[in-house]
Symmetry: C2
Subunit: 213 residues, 2 copies
């Protein structure tokens, strides 16, 4: 019975983690998010139920509602999460860009790379014809949109480009990126470079033709 390392319940003194209470809360929230991603991937958003999600976590049904109000809210949280992870990437592109073209190319390339990565964790075994609702305007998503518009404004001004309708232009660019990105994911092999080139050229060519304000 020497004093070898055997510390049944001794708390680690340098463990400055929050208490167990807080930790399980974080873990539960994450577990629900993970389960939701899997269930949405397998059953599709429409078919999936709150019970399907919570069942996969092993938690009780009531527990779900301690974290999210509804299936819709978990979905938004997932979308928000994606936007939150993408934001710094976008910001980096915006910082290193020297003109509109380099920013646009960098941002679209980054978005398509991001799409390809995310793609894996979502499109698992989705029933044919099932479709995700278009992501709603969660705070983070709105922030990304705003950031794109602001970056456009800044870079275009720096280029001494003529003023255009920024709202229309931003919306149109995001629409092109989203749609071409979607189509890109449906092709085999996935050609990020080609798709990005297409979107960039289309936008870049369209810009000088736009009506001036």
């Amino acid at each position: 019975m020497s004093n070898i390392a055997y510390f049944p319940a001794r708390p680690d003194p340098e463990d400055s983690r929050p208490g167990k209470r807080e930790r399980t809360k974080v873990a539960n929230r994450q577990a629900i998010l993970d389960a939701a991603r899997a269930v949405f991937g397998e059953l599709g958003y429409e078919t999936a139920t709150v019970r399907d999600i919570i069942r996969r976590t092993g938690l009780a049904s009531g527990t779900f509602y301690n974290y999210y109000k509804s299936k819709e809210e978990v979905f938004d949280a997932l979308a928000d999460d994606g936007a939150r992870r993408f934001r710094p990437i976008l910001r980096a592109e915006s910082d290193k860009a020297v003109d509109f073209e380099s920013f646009l190319r960098g941002a679209i390339r980054a978005y398509f790379d991001f799409l390809e990565g995310e793609h894996e964790s979502w499109r698992i075994n989705r029933p044919a014809g099932e479709v995700f609702p278009h992501a709603r305007a969660t705070p983070e998503i709105v922030a990304v949109f705003d950031e794109v518009r602001d970056a456009f404004a800044k870079v275009l001004e720096h280029d001494h480009a003529p003023a255009v309708d920024l709202d229309y232009f931003t919306a149109a660019c995001i629409a092109v990126a989203r749609e071409v990105g979607d189509k890109m994911l449906e092709r085999r092999p996935i050609d990020v470079e080609g798709a990005a080139d297409f979107a960039v050229r289309m936008i870049l060519g369209g810009l000088p033709a736009l009506p001036r304000l």
Copy 2:
């Protein structure tokens, strides 16, 4: 008791309409469609229930299922209906177009006019934040997309324009039109001409810059 006009149950001999059975069927189907449009407009797609729709028609709940399998199917029917009404308009533009620019301008202008018209019958009193699911790929919608792509192919070839990635290009054009169209509807006053000009110029400018196949 002369033979004045008193024909209790005499069928109109020159009435070549289908039998009563068929007529009420058509009427019911239409009533459900109308009710659905109104209910979706007032409550939003998510909130609305099959019962909300059928209640407005005065029919029994079971009757709904003699016509549509679900709320989703009525929604698709409404979307399909819109596409079916738009198709001849698009076709007319395609027929009278002499080159890509005139076709594009005509088609987008027609779409935006159509949007502005439809707008009225839908966006009545929608709760804030509520959103319609993106229209699913119903047969008529797919047909419209195909028609756009085919018209693009025909007109571009006629212009001796260099070959581009038609799938990407069509998707991108539709995306631009849809997004700019949406934004157009949010502005007051609604400026169809301005929005159409924006979309047309953007696409027209982008086209020559696209990568050649």
